[in-house]
């Protein structure tokens, strides 16, 4: 059945805004998914169709109409237990087989460490010395993710690859994939983790080999080479997850909007005020619980140890550039 499943899934993928099937695992999952769909449709039509036929054919025409004296039929009952049982075993076996393949990463996989925390993802390439907030990988090569959480259980889900694995705070979980299409695909958090669960989005960028080389050589795009400090800060603002909680258009999110803040005097929880200057911004990034503006919860995570000096400078330059109140 896998050839028809394969065909069907390609038809599905080609026909409009369906989910792309962008990895070897996605193809396997789609194939089994289609197999089950076809079988389900068949049995649904069989059961409901028979029900409708009987309902119409044996509707009561006269009161007191006679009915047949049937208690059961051993042969029928054995057959309709055996056939589903066999089909279910086949489905089980395929699911099990594919799952085990998905569980064992190839030896030559590119290794990436994934960290989940409320409410963003970050990625480290230990062998390349790169920290990034996007998962960037080359096409047609296996990638192994070793994942952990800084706080509660999250779940790393890439719909285009049909893959997810929970991300735990007390041990590592592992997932691997081999993307067979270039493009940018969504990463969702798939385990409820609080206020920002639905905005804990990420991106996985599958690049051609050449493009990937360029990205690696540029230090993972986190060095800000070739761009102004403000532009670098703007890039970091999105990639480091700041934009998840801080808008730049005045709208209130989990954290305050940062437009028109620099230079203001703000009231703090617990009394007192602070002037929003370079040092307050730096303190808010490194020790965010120290001085929290009234009207907000102290939920911002710290970036101490995560940002290099030039990255912190760029972020502060960007926030300053957001200027006066709208």
């Amino acid at each position: 059945m896998s050839w028809s499943g394969h065909t069907l899934s390609h038809i599905a993928a080609a026909s409009g805004p369906w989910l792309p099937s962008a990895s070897t695992s996605a193809e396997r999952v789609d194939s089994l998914l289609w197999f089950i769909t076809v079988l389900s449709a068949f049995f649904f039509v069989l059961v409901v169709g028979t029900m409708v036929v009987f309902a119409v054919k044996y509707r009561r025409r006269t009161p007191g109409q006679k009915t047949a004296n049937i208690h059961g039929n051993r042969t029928v009952e054995i057959v309709w237990a055996a056939i589903p049982a066999v089909l279910l075993v086949i489905i089980f076996a395929r699911g099990f087989h594919d799952y085990m393949d998905m569980a064992v990463p190839p030896g030559d996989s590119i290794e990436v460490r994934v960290t989940g925390q409320k409410w963003f993802w970050s990625f480290t390439y230990p062998k390349l010395g790169i920290n990034s907030n996007e998962l960037v990988v080359p096409v047609d090569r296996p990638v192994k993710l070793t994942m952990s959480s800084m706080d509660v259980i999250h779940s790393f889900y890439v719909p285009a690859f049909r893959l997810k694995r929970d991300v735990l705070p007390n041990r590592y979980t592992v997932m691997w994939f081999n993307p067979n299409q270039t493009g940018t695909f969504d990463i969702f958090c798939a385990e409820y983790c609080g206020t920002g669960h639905s905005v804990m989005l990420g991106q996985i960028k599958v690049l051609s080999d050449v493009e990937y080389r360029k990205w690696v050589d540029s230090g993972g795009g986190m060095s800000g080479e070739g761009m102004s400090s403000v532009d670098f800060g703007k890039q970091l603002f999105t990639r480091q997850g700041c934009a998840t909680c801080h808008s730049v258009d005045g709208s209130k999110k989990t954290g305050p909007s940062l437009v028109g803040r620099f230079g203001n005097v703000e009231s703090l929880i617990g009394g007192g005020t602070v002037t929003v200057d370079d040092n307050y911004l730096r303190e808010s990034i490194m020790n965010p619980g120290a001085k929290v503006v009234v009207g907000y919860e102290p939920v911002m995570p710290t970036y101490a140890g995560k940002l290099k000096e030039e990255q912190t400078n760029a972020l502060i330059d960007y926030i300053k550039s957001l200027g006066a109140k709208p």
């Binding site: 798939a190 206020t195 989990t254």
Partner: protein, 555 residues
């Protein structure tokens, strides 16, 4: 036809008039006569009122959640308000509505009647069960509404041990509610073993009784595990012991194992009574014996047993061992077989029957359609590799709503209509019954079928806002929820109306054979004037043509 061993010469009408003279169970007035009653029928009615009230509250919350999801942005509710709303929806629907639903209302009312008994084995325990339910409900509701419960009904750790929400109070409420369930289960098991009327052998019991019995076993065995799990959670929060919180040396996945060890069997508590009702509706309204009595009876027990060993299918992506996952997947498929047998048997029962399309039968047919979809989509989720994609997406949400709502709630509504004349002595409006059933069926499918597609496209669950590409399917789903809500609201209206203005019901409007119909509508307080003696089965309708060759006894 089961015969009531009394004055054999008096026509049935006179007997029933004498029964009515003994006093309908509804006759005695006064609030105290209700809240201190030991009559299983009154307790069943009190439960019925409570669960319908909570169903409405949970339903309004669902409408609010779906309304927010009409647009991709989180503009109606804040993220925190939304998280509270879906938590409250789930907790109310599961703990206050669906777990008690059929057993506590229809089960309480009809189990003794179907057995020819005067009451359940322990009437005072039955009353205690109801009061414990009320206390648990108050605690749970107060803690969620007044507090900031936003963990989802599943209370996963470490979020639930770290969040500043009123988790202790809410879980304590659920803990108390569990005892209501355990006591009901215990009562029913003893009643079925010890209080059957003379001649009512196990193989002559209505299938609703078999189903309720299997459910009761699960209630008694599984609920204590939830109780202990919640106690551990409370202890962790209050005493700082590290059981689940890794910061204190605990394991968060252990919580999931404990939680799902109860919560998977719990879904069989939800569906098995529904299966029992369908067996009753199809036989009575097609005037035919059930096809495969033994298979249906024993499959309930098989489902109850196997159901204890599949909990890990909620955890394929959790980090549990792959070996454990394989066992869970295999057993999950195993439990599908007795379930499929039931569906085939019900359809086969229609063969050469005499089918009346009244509201109970319409709900029974709707059940077969909707539960088949729900069950088949369970197959997708039981396949390990496919589940990796579909877990924690809207596909799961659609699946469980198809089986719980398209299954249990539809069966419950069918049973409510079927037994309404017996419980209250009034007929509901057949015309409105059919109109509402149609609205419910259409609204339900529009709401939830779209969600299978959403999930397959990767839309995760418990999301307050979403990417614009999912908007159309969400909007269709929200429109569906409005139609569904209207249909259910109509049911509420005409049922309440029938209590005051409905046509008076005869003792046996459907001319059924089982014992509950061989007494007045509504029944007298002591159920039967004289204990019935049973000489034949519960589905031996007079229309069955005894001249046709009985097909080989298959089950």
């Amino acid at each position: 036809m089961s015969s009531i061993a009394t004055d054999a010469n008096a026509p049935l009408g006179e007997e029933l008039a004498r029964e009515a003279a003994h006093g309908s169970y509804l006759a005695e007035k006064g609030v105290l006569s209700w809240i201190l009653t030991k009559d299983h029928k009154r307790i069943g009615v009190m439960y019925l009122g409570s669960i319908l009230l909570f169903f409405m509250v949970g339903g309004l919350l669902a409408l609010a959640v779906r309304l927010e999801l009409l647009t991709a942005k989180g503009d109606l509710l804040s993220a925190d308000a939304y998280n509270k709303a879906f938590t409250l929806h789930g907790a109310i629907m599961i703990f206050l509505f669906i777990i008690p639903s059929i057993p506590a209302s229809i089960g309480n009312f009809f189990l003794p009647l179907m057995l020819g008994a005067k009451d359940v084995a322990f009437p005072k325990l039955n009353l205690a069960s109801y009061h414990i339910y009320v206390v648990g409900a108050v605690i749970l509701l107060y803690s969620i509404i007044a507090g900031t419960m936003d963990t989802g009904w599943t209370f996963y750790t470490p979020y639930s041990t770290q969040t500043g929400a009123s988790v202790i109070a809410a879980t304590f409420g659920v803990f108390v509610l569990g005892f209501s369930s355990i006591f009901t289960g215990l009562n029913f098991i003893v009643t079925v073993h010890k209080m059957r009327a003379p001649g009512l052998t196990w193989n002559r019991m209505p299938l609703f009784v078999w189903a309720t019995y299997a459910t009761a076993i699960i209630q008694v065995l599984a609920t204590p595990v939830l109780a202990i799990t919640l106690v551990l959670l409370i202890m962790e929060r209050m005493l700082g012991i590290g059981i689940f919180d890794p910061a204190r040396g605990g394991d968060p996945v252990l919580y999931q194992h404990f939680f799902w060890f109860y919560s998977h069997p719990a879904v069989y508590i939800m569906i098995l009574p529904g299966f029992g009702i369908i067996s009753e509706l199809i036989t009575v309204h097609a005037r035919k014996n059930i096809f495969g009595y033994r298979a249906i009876a024993l499959s309930s027990v098989a489902i109850a047993v196997i159901g204890f060993f599949v909990w890990g299918h909620h955890m394929f992506t959790s980090g549990q061992s792959q070996f454990a996952g394989v066992l869970f997947s295999f057993l999950t498929f195993a439990v599908a077989v007795p379930t499929a047998i039931k569906v085939f048997s019900w359809v086969a029962t229609l063969y050469k029957g005499s089918i009346s399309f009244n509201t109970p039968m319409i709900y029974a047919l709707a059940f077969i359609v909707l539960f088949t979809i729900g069950g088949l989509t369970g197959v997708f989720l039981g396949a390990m590799s496919v589940d990796v994609h579909l877990h924690d997406t809207y596909f799961v949400v659609a699946h469980f709503h198809y089986v719980m709502m398209g299954g249990t709630v539809i069966a419950f509504l069918g049973g409510l209509h079927h037994w309404w004349p017996k419980m209250f002595g009034r007929m509901y409006s057949e015309r409105w019954g059919k109109i509402a059933a149609a609205l419910v069926f259409v609204g339900f499918n529009l709401t939830f079928f779209t969600q299978f597609l959403l999930g397959a496209q990767g839309m995760p669950r418990r999301y307050h806002e979403y990417l614009p590409r999912y908007a159309l399917l969400h909007q269709l789903s929200t429109v569906g929820s409005q139609i569904l809500g209207i249909g259910l609201f109509i049911v509420l209206i005409y049922l309440i109306h029938s209590l005051f203005k409905g046509q008076k019901a005869p003792a046996n409007p459907w001319e059924a054979v089982s014992l509950e119909w061989q007494t007045a509508s509504p029944p007298i307080t002591h159920n039967f004037v004289v204990t019935p003696r049973v000489t034949s089965g519960p589905y031996d309708f007079p229309e069955i043509d005894s001249h046709t060759a009985k097909a080989s006894e298959g089950g």
